[in-house]
Symmetry: C2
């Protein structure tokens, strides 16, 4: 890309604040690379964040999440809202045809200066995906985006790291999403704030609607009751209703004082998540670098040393966590 500037901490901070697209692109790349400059920029901008409303969109692959996001962007823009999108692919969109096709739906917004879209792979994040998503969201928040969509594939708990920071979580399903229904019913998948059933033209859409209704009927009678929206994202149908339900959830959170509470909980969870991911990376790094630790692992593999003793010795070596570990936990 032409015109790469030599950003300094101050110029990048100011340019992100001004919503400069190159600055946003650069800042998020730095975030992905875990660069010190990214850390400093977010550090400086953090007190100015909290403006953006973060909408998480999850659901099984192939359900049409990108089409839904694309339609929601159009609606948000028609209401003069500025938009950011962080789209987390399970693999590179350029190696998997199906995903590429899906991603293309977002390109209609590429020329809109008030829409900033960023795709991220799930691999290669030094600080874990939770950290990257959080930091990228903070960058877009500081750039005064009104709404930020966090789009990620989800089949259970794996998306937690990405969606843990969302204010409203939309679960997209389609006719045939039997496993997701079972997971919701069994309590393995958390009940989202809004459910969208995409591909409503499909003959089995009504069946899916009834199944979702039955699952939700098992839920709590009080508080927010997740609405179900039928949509056909390719034609943009049902998306106005979906947008309205997201807005309704937001108004409900704000009226009940829940938004502030939810953000506090989310931030605390993120901090644990990121700290744990870093601790894990540190362990992996140490075993890679330290022949003594590799020898320990070898002894486990040869059934000479039991795994937990190896774990203890590794933690002792890497973090100086001694045997008081056991006693602490009692």
């Amino acid at each position: 890309m032409a015109g790469r500037r030599n950003w300094t901490r101050d110029t990048l901070v100011q340019a992100v604040r001004d919503g400069d697209r190159r600055a946003l692109a650069r800042a998020i790349t730095l975030v992905e690379n875990g660069a010190p400059l990214a850390y400093e920029v977010v550090h400086d901008l953090y007190p100015e964040t909290g403006h953006a409303y973060a909408v998480g969109i999850t659901g099984p692959p192939g359900v049409g999440k990108s089409s839904i996001v694309s339609s929601l962007i159009r609606i948000a823009r028609s209401q003069q809202q500025t938009v950011g999108v962080i789209s987390v692919d399970p693999s590179s969109p350029f190696t998997q045809g199906a995903l590429l096709g899906d991603r293309i739906r977002l390109t209609e917004h590429f020329l809109d200066p008030e829409v900033f879209i960023r795709s991220m792979g799930t691999r290669g994040h030094l600080g874990g995906l939770a950290e990257t998503t959080l930091q990228a969201l903070l960058v877009l928040d500081a750039a005064h985006k009104d709404v930020v969509f966090l789009e990620t594939v989800g089949t259970g708990q794996s998306e937690v790291g990405v969606l843990a920071i969302a204010d409203t979580v939309v679960l997209a399903l389609m006719p045939g999403s039997g496993d997701s229904i079972q997971a919701l019913k069994a309590g393995i998948m958390e009940i989202p704030d809004v459910i969208a059933i995409n591909k409503m033209d499909h003959p089995l859409a009504k069946t899916m609607l009834n199944e979702v209704r039955q699952v939700l009927a098992l839920g709590p009678r009080e508080g927010w009751r997740p609405p179900i929206v039928l949509a056909e994202a390719m034609r943009g149908e049902g998306l106005d209703t979906l947008w309205e339900k997201i807005a309704e959830h937001r108004r409900w959170l704000e009226a009940e004082g829940e938004l502030e509470q939810r953000r506090r909980r989310n931030l605390a969870r993120e901090v644990f998540q990121v700290a744990s991911a870093r601790a894990r990376r540190r362990i992996e790094q140490a075993v890679q670098d330290d022949p003594e630790l590799r020898r320990l692992l070898g002894a486990v593999q040869e059934r000479k040393l039991d795994p937990l003793t190896a774990v203890r010795e590794i933690l002792q070596e890497v973090f100086h966590i001694g045997d008081e570990d056991r006693t602490d936990a009692r």
Copy 2:
């Protein structure tokens, strides 16, 4: 329970070795509680393990995993093999009707002294589920079980901690498992070693079979090619074939020298998993106990201190990981 003995390290080790059922029950309870005695017992027995063949069974909720396991136990017993089962519930079987009903299918084996079945909830494991499953498997292995089934609900990556130690992984699907097919296709869910399509009487079973075939056709042409087995576990149909395919996979692993390699990889992964879970627990404990760390978290929640700075200070405080963290990672 009557007749609880006062086990010592030596008596418990010997009784586990002898396959004493009370000793097994006790040892696994101790494992679940993270008791020092459990650690010592597994430590002592570890060099004697490696005999048991671990078969992981995963799949979305409601697919009939317990029925499948129950049938496989019957077949294994008819071949004079001794059996262990570690069944990981997403929630207590006693609070969720559907799961309880499913679990009941295992009761026919409760009186067989050569079958040891243990259910575990997913909550409350001090050392994380990966640690508990691994240690429980090692106990059953040391007790000379020929086959140990690791049964867990799976909708993506969440089951990794439990199945990472399996020699053969069976994925159970049913007609309507559209989300799992999509997840396999998108590469989000790992391709298992054997696929069982349960509820083969369902009119859509053939459709599911074709979808699975198409997904597998996209896979690598070399090495082990996962067979697909149609089953009706409630009637025990197709289970002989499933058992034979598991045995075939085992023979393939053994012939190629892959079993040893796979176990080495699995053990290394388990050690990282368990060490990370322990590091995470340590972080949570520290924030809970230390007012200074709670104050940091509060500053993040009030947008005064950015999350990554808080993460750094927490890691510094808990593990004495300093800022060299950043430089290390470059």
